[in-house]
Amino acid sequence: MSAERSKVTLVVDGVEVTADDGAMLVDAAKEGDVEIPVFCYEPKLGGPVGACRMCLVEIEGIPKLQTACSTPVRDGMVVYTRTDRVIESQSAVVEFLLVNHPLDCPVCDKGGECPLQDIAMGWGPGRSRMTEPKRHFRKPMPLSPLVRIDRERCILCYRCVRFSQDVAEDEQLQLLERGASSHVGTFDDHPYIAPFHGNIIELCPVGALTAEAYRFRARPWDIEDSGSVCTLCPSQCNVMFTVRDEHVQRVLARDNDDVDAGWLCDKGRFGFQMITSEERIVEPRVGGSRAGWEAALDAVAERLRSAGERTAAIVGGQTSNEEGYLIQRLLRGALGSANITSVDELEAGLARRLAAPELGAAVPDLDAAESILVVGTDPLNSIPILDLRIRRAIRQGRARLVVASERPTALDGGAEETARYAPGDAAGFLAALAAELGNRRQAGAGTPGRAADEVPGDGSDWAEGARRIAGELRPGKTVIVYGERLGRGPGGDSALASLLECARALDLATAGAGVIGVPEGANGRGLREVGCLPGAGPGFAEAPAGRGLDRIKQGLLDGELDAVVLVHADPIRNLPDGPGWAEALRRARTVIAVSAFDDASTETADIVFPAESYAEKEGTVTHPDGRLQRLRPAVPHPGNVHPIWQVLAELGARLGHETGIGSVPEAVATIAAEVPFYAGITPEEIGGRGVRWQERPAASAVAELAAVPPEQRTSRTNLDRDDSGTLTADRLRLGTYPALWADEITDRNVALRFLAPAQTVELAPSDGERLGLASGDEVEVRSNGTGVRARVALNERMRPGAVFLIEATAAENANALPAELNVEVIKP
């Protein structure tokens, strides 16, 4: 982040205050315990606008009152916030604001935690002289299915409008009409549907914007706040659960600029209903019928004992570090099996090199980077809060964005350059990019603005895209945000090796630059670091080679494996080749699932353990940028749910492998002792803000992470296709992607269900024309005799020859297609 700012001294109400040079007066005054009331001021939204006029103060030497929210402090400034003039202006503004406010506090959800109430009490005149009729609007109107708007309560600070325009950049919310008729709305009263729109509820300083799910559920004096971390996606935003009577009623942002910059996506904000869902599994089941814990643990222990090393485990992204550590220990220690992996499986050597501390960028590095490369991921779908972060970096004019991806991303519009390679061609593209960057480095041509055509290329499609992308990247000042799914499939290892080469060619092992990998699962990074990786134990320690996802599936199908443990994992829905997984799980002698809900995979399970929800869990997770964060239980476990770390430790004990872990802090301590770069870490040190292990002294102890010699120049992917990635007319190549709302979380939260996407097949308009398809047509996407029904969406930013389907939809799941690149799109 920015260098230490110099300090200035000023006097506020007679108190000498020292503040950062350039700080706004309203913030500086807080250093002297002086509160200046504000409504419209919210630094998260960008620069001050000075609209509400609540913060007017008197500054010596300036005749007119000044807005403290927009006045930067200067050395020697003398400020008065309680002179007669200022008091008069403050009470005037409150009186004006209340002219049209209904004062329905007794029935308003905001009552008791309302800035307008507080400021009216603290700075208002106490009574109004207004006797005229007030402004009336229909109320409360749905602004979206999740948010209601009460325009009578609105004080027109227009924070919500600024959020929509300047932060989310969806530009849906507008101020309509003008003057006293101004009101917040959308064009033609369309519902405000956007992935971050829930933030406006929290921004609203009055009760004008309320959450459908929280209306009339609680008053501030009924509730307790409980801070934790949202583990519904890898963003791992810091949240505050609002708990009433042991139920989560609301999720608010717990601003942490190093992680989320104070925003939440709607999945994190409204995805809490599933915690209290009646569909939850709340007690162990053996053979389909309810069982006590003793019986269930005995049954599992017996089956695992007999399966022994013929056991495998798949860990899903919501699993905590402690759970992940204990499950790998159960397999490796108690059962002698090396078949442990997570849905974010990477080749062990690559995983080790990608985790090298000097190569890792922190989220705030995006703010200061000169160029940002987003490759192989669409942050909006996979790590939504980074989408906002990257937008902010571009908006502030510092970073130039380039996007390289199979499928169009939400960030394309702000990108200087985009390159679109065909599905499955990431390895080829990244090899070309690495070669291009390597050439530039050798030619000393890494300087910004160097014309791309000065570097010789081989004229192929990839080389052209690579040249455009490379031309925008600033050596030593670039952050690469890459999708770890680049590592999937036959060319995956080669793709990630090329990515490492790109990073080396760009000198990214320097402060302020680096890479951030976007996993599929929320704790993908942490799980690998605690040893949920075939061939690497905790801390990437050498470990006997084990089976990865594909070989586990194959082992189950072939009968080489007897038992599989699924922790927060539903391979049938979420992994490629769902039908293959379904068959594998059916054939497995024993399937043990830890799951909060029944799904396709638990249907095949012999024994099911109820899983904790993230609001019940205690433990730690690791952010994609290496920040360890603490999960703290906000609500008690429902029914007969037990902490999973405890269940796993108990299982180990029954199998004769005592871990000595009797509490979460003990688990953390054990992990810290085994993972060299977590050495000495404690829950206290992690605290409420988390700590990046790369920034701790212990990180230096893992120089060997980076010291692993880089593999020699990776050859291009040897997939059976022509090098240029161009596709012939009669072949359409299928790509799949995780859409933000296509997952179990959407299905399990009533409020979010309307967002669940129906299967859609995206095509370039030229392909649509050739095949006689128009947007909205019902078609079937067929491959090897299997088909998925979908609706056509023509997208002009698509690469011709490619088609895309959504993964993990509740119906017509793209994962139901066999892992086959070429498909047909036909009208039934």
Binding site: G50, A51, T67, A92, F96, R178, A180
Partner: protein, 440 residues
């Protein structure tokens, strides 16, 4: 006392609006001089020396404002504020309609002075006929090489674009004008940063009124000292004054600043109809505090009007004679600002709304003298607390009317109440809320 015509010289001569007619009278000579004989800094200092003050309302020294723009190579802009929307003001209209090239030449010279490559004329949407005239004239100027990528083969580039507003008073506020020009909702911006530092598209921007820019060619032709020869020390030059209301000869008159106001109202505009007397007058558009008959001998200058508690503003005199009800005038004034308030800042949005409702009750006899205290108090709470001057523009005249004509307000309340207008079955609650447009 006759008019002193500089901007209005030959204003009604046929063909003045064409480039030929303008050139026949020496037009574009100043631009040539500015291009060939003067450095930009000399231009700026001569404008500053002339004492030319902004003719749009604020009366800030044009040369000084121009000198605030940073020097050096960067994209800078000139904006001509032609959003003349103040009730009572119609001088820019005539200047553009009858002598558009004078403005174009002024814009070109001002662009040279500050180093702007793009000049925009932001003209109010209702002036569509004038915008057509301007467009035609701009086309002629381009064809003649006075505008474009290489004006008069000097390698200097000045592009001029006429942009039509959509019809909002607030877009005459300079920063709202910039937002509107950028394609956004026309809302004022927070100052600082001032447009001279960070204006249109974030670049340094000089914004001046049509009349101000129209003065520029004359100053370049005749020199600062010639210009200073007109007017008073602090108000130099001539001024086109729009006179309207209760006068026999309403219209635009170009006067030398400093002549007695009575000369304008009575001498030039003929005063009120026979048998009537001036009761109140706005010396500088509807946003200026009103003056009374006793103030008629004030010299018409920025400083004398300010001393009298009002302002010269855009130089638009509106006269109310003794047949006019001041409370109704106050209501009409408040309604206008209520309708035009952008709604961004609290005191203006709510203050204009509240004031209008109270004055409405006064006029209908549903108020009490106590309400006059509140009306006066509300105006005080608006003044100086708003984001831009629109709120003050209502509060100052309305406040001055209540202060100076308190007896008439009280009499109006009493008379209307006695006439039965204030009966309970006509409670204001029964009436639908009206916006200014509906009410007017």
């Amino acid at each position: 006392m006759p008019e002193t015509r500089v901007l209005f010289r030959d204003i009604d001569a046929p063909g003045l609006a064409t480039i030929q007619g303008y050139r026949d009278r020496g037009g574009y000579g100043a631009l040539k001089r500015a291009l060939h004989e003067l450095e930009p800094d000399e231009l700026l200092s001569s404008l500053e020396d002339s004492g030319l003050r902004g003719r749009g309302g604020a009366g800030f020294s044009m040369g000084k404002k121009g000198s605030f723009l940073p020097r050096g190579e960067m994209e800078k802009y000139l904006c001509c504020n032609a959003d003349e929307s103040e009730p009572g003001a119609f001088k820019d209209r005539e200047l553009m309609q009858k002598n558009p090239h004078q403005l174009i030449e002024g814009c070109a010279i001002a662009s040279l002075a500050v180093g702007a490559t793009y000049a925009f004329v932001f003209i109010r949407g209702e002036y569509w006929e004038i915008a057509d005239i301007l467009d035609r004239a701009v086309g002629e100027a381009y064809d003649a090489g006075y505008l474009g990528a290489d004006i008069l083969d000097t390698g200097v580039r000045v592009e001029l674009i006429v942009h039509r507003g959509a019809g909002a008073y607030i877009c005459g506020e300079e920063t709202a004008l910039l937002d509107a020009l950028e394609g956004k909702r026309g809302n004022p911006r927070l100052k600082p940063p001032f447009p001279a530092i960070q204006g249109l598209y974030g670049g340094p921007t000089l914004i001046n009124n049509v009349e101000t820019l129209s003065n520029v060619p004359h100053i370049v032709n005749n020199g600062a000292d010639w210009f200073k020869g007109f007017g008073s020390e602090q108000s130099t030059g001539t001024k086109v004054v729009s006179v309207s209301g209760c006068v026999q000869r309403p219209g635009n008159y170009e006067i030398e600043l400093g002549i007695p106001s009575r000369e304008i109202i009575y001498g030039l505009a003929g005063g009120p109809p026979k048998g009537r007397r001036v009761k109140a007058w706005f010396p500088g558009g509807s946003s200026a505090p009103v003056l009374t008959e006793a103030d008629l001998d004030l010299p018409y200058t920025f400083e004398d009007l300010a001393k009298a508690g009002s302002m010269l503003g855009s130089g638009s005199i509106i006269v109310a004679d003794d047949t006019i009800s001041i409370p109704e005038l106050a209501l009409r004034t408040a309604r206008f600002y209520h309708h035009e308030s952008c709604g961004k800042c609290t005191p203006c949005r709510e203050g204009t709304n509240w004031t209008t409702k109270m004055l409405d009750r006064v006029v209908r006899g549903e108020a009490t003298p106590m309400d006059l205290e509140i009306i006066a108090g509300v105006q005080e709470k608006i003044i100086g607390h708003c984001l831009c001057v629109l709120g003050d523009s209502m509060a100052m005249p309305v406040g001055s009317m209540v202060a100076k004509f308190r007896d008439e307000f009280e009499a109006t309340i009493e008379a209307a109440r006695e006439a039965g207008h204030g009966a309970l079955d006509h409670s204001p609650l029964d009436r639908p809320l009206t916006t200014g447009a509906q009410a007017a």
